[in-house]
Symmetry: C2
Subunit: 136 residues, 2 copies
């Protein structure tokens, strides 16, 4: 009987301690803050096809090889085909920092240096942050 | 023996005919052409929060209820919070036509009429058309 009371006391103490100090019984998954950006580019019209093939290869490699690259969706404007917008979603800024050191990104960056007439990088806040895009 | 030869002749004739005229043995799935657009909006700063809640509701309803709405991804610019860009992907133009007749779209459209200072709809061509975005 004495032992039973002792066990109850110990268990109660542990539960109380965990509750008060909110000790993680299960490790919480760290909440990553996605980095969402719009890249707006204007490309030299004489080199547009070459630029697009560089970009296509870079996007396909990034999505295949980098779990932290959640989305790279590029469009050209119908009325201004040299105007390109890319919606870029990275798991967090660390994933982005890794991305810009990859061989496929560096190949794209150096290969297209003379093709890009203008590059605007617009930092954004997603309207629905919990929404994730997955490529198929 | 005679019948066997006859059967072989018939089968060969059918296969040859199908090959030459490329008759669909199995019906081909019709290839839909996605409609991809960028909407660029500037919102009245005094009504920004109200506008965002209208848009959030509209996007969530569209993705839940309309299989033809493949993506609606909205961002606000960090340096210009009243500047909003939405990447819109519909399965095809028919899906878009259905979308703009839905009650949730009409509620958004009429509810935000006085909040939108500028709306630019930019028709685009995706760089990688076979790439699909799925929300999670």
């Amino acid at each position: 009987m004495k032992i039973s009371y002792f066990v109850i006391l110990i268990v109660t103490t542990i539960i109380t301690t965990l509750t008060i100090f909110q000790l993680p019984v299960r490790p919480r998954s760290p909440k990553k803050k996605p980095m969402v950006r719009l890249a707006r580019l204007i490309i030299d019209s004489m080199q547009l096809e070459s630029y697009k093939s560089f970009l296509k290869e870079e996007i396909e490699s990034s999505l295949r090889l980098e779990p932290g690259v959640q989305s790279l969706y590029a469009v050209t404007e119908k009325n201004n085909p040299t105007h390109i917008t890319i919606l870029e979603i990275y798991a967090d800024t660390a994933a982005y920092q890794l991305h810009i050191q990859t061989p496929h990104f560096l190949k794209y960056k150096t290969g297209t240096k003379e093709m890009v007439k203008s590059l605007e990088l617009v930092e954004t806040v997603p309207l629905i942050p919990e929404m994730q895009l997955k490529h198929e």
